[in-house]
Symmetry: C2
Subunit: 265 residues, 2 copies
């Protein structure tokens, strides 16, 4: 990347922990590719500090925006000065831009980036019946983005059904009319199968869904970025399914984030 | 420079305005030369935000430290958790390190960097009689660093004599026994002549001291970095003096700053 000077536009990612983040590397590579004078740095901000950190970032005049990651995405919704309808419906936001007058505006791009990544791989969710494993923050964002993309129906599997029901209720309240069911771990009959849990991050994790019921013709997509081929994806591949690893989804989200934050083009 | 990841150690420079700062470029080049995973970014922080910004930086766990520039150097002395004897004596600090438990410790390296720069050019201030033009923040820091370096006597010229007298009084209170006089703009008889005013930044500035009285054998040093050869240095050169431009002084200060902030070696 080019030298950082007093003219360089500043971006940050706030999280706790911070070591795992890949966004600065991808964002800075995108800016370097554009020949743009902008840099993103990691900021390890613990949860009790978040509100005052946002207060300060409001006043940092050369700041273009910032990204919030675990555990700040829900809390940020209450700390920003404006949020998109989507962010409010999901109940969380991850991308924030700073307006010239020091307002912080939030958007939720987690799910949208995931769906955009699928589309770039040639997988169009519109009209499909989708099986979604998980009902945490990532699952919620993906559920909304899938609904926006026009999926025919959504089947959610989560060990705690209440959280899956909450997603269904949030979708309904946001005016998405698609049928949402809370079901078992069996993905049979769905066109598109998505893991939005963290199961697969560690080698000894259980599979996030009933992979033994997968059949050829199903597409299995993953939110986990490392390992690239999770045990779920390996099982899916062995059963003749097409697989979509998680890493390209983040690459895709970077451009959405940069555009939302008004990063130089 | 290398890619910024979640592991990259974070440094910042706080100022208002910020466009003019050269420290990030020099610091990042130093880190790149060392193969160190650290980055310094500019943060445009207006004065009313400084206290809350410092409060937040205390809690940013991956922050190694920061530099304060105009107009924050004096105010920072009251905002950090500890300051060196030198910083307290000068009444300002410009380099800050963050301890693992979130304390901010301040040091004043402006003058020390200037003197170290002179020494690197082969100019040893010890035992010399010095003429110092200016009595602002830079002049004050340089006066202390020259006293520490063992100059024989200091003659200060400033349009407002009260500020020059204040430096003399601060030096006395800090236990520096050298004779300090507040004098006219005539540098006659001094071995080393230093401009610590901002006169010379703009093409139509008046000369900061009576350059027509300079004689061969005198050394004339400058704090101004741009232009490299100021009208004062040009006049000094024309009168047969050795000259020391300002830019190498900042280069020299960067290493002192990096070491104080505990930047990777």
């Amino acid at each position: 990347m080019a030298a950082i000077t007093g003219h360089t536009r500043l971006y940050a990612i706030l999280g706790d922990p911070i070591l795992q983040v890949r966004t600065p590397e991808l964002f800075n590579a995108l800016m370097a590719g554009r020949g743009a004078d902008a840099v993103m740095v990691p900021m390890h901000v613990p949860a009790p500090m978040l509100a005052s950190a946002v207060g300060v970032l409001r006043g940092v005049a050369n700041l273009g925006g910032f990204i919030a990651t675990v555990p700040h995405k829900s809390a940020m919704l209450g700390l920003c000065d404006a949020a998109s309808d989507r962010a409010r419906a999901v109940g969380a936001a991850n991308a924030f831009r700073r307006t010239p007058d020091g307002r912080i505006e939030g958007e939720m791009l987690d799910g949208v980036g995931f769906v955009r990544g699928l589309q770039r791989e040639g997988v169009e969710p519109e009209g499909r019946e989708v099986f979604l494993a998980g009902a945490g923050g990532a699952a919620k964002a993906i559920a909304f983005a899938l609904a926006e993309a026009g999926v025919r129906a959504l089947r959610i599997w989560n060990r705690t059904p209440d959280k899956a029901l909450e997603i269904a209720e949030r979708l309904r309240r946001a005016g998405h009319g698609l049928p949402v069911t809370v079901a078992t771990s069996d993905p049979s009959g769905c066109d598109l199968v998505v893991n939005a849990t963290s199961l697969g991050l560690r080698a000894d994790d259980a599979l996030p869904l009933g992979a033994e019921r997968l059949t050829p013709g199903q597409i299995v997509a993953e939110v986990i970025m490392k390992p690239s081929v999770t045990p779920l994806l390996a099982a899916a591949q062995a059963r003749g399914c097409r697989i979509c690893p998680g890493a390209p989804m983040l690459d895709c989200q970077i451009e959405l984030m940069a555009d939302f934050m008004g990063a130089p083009r």
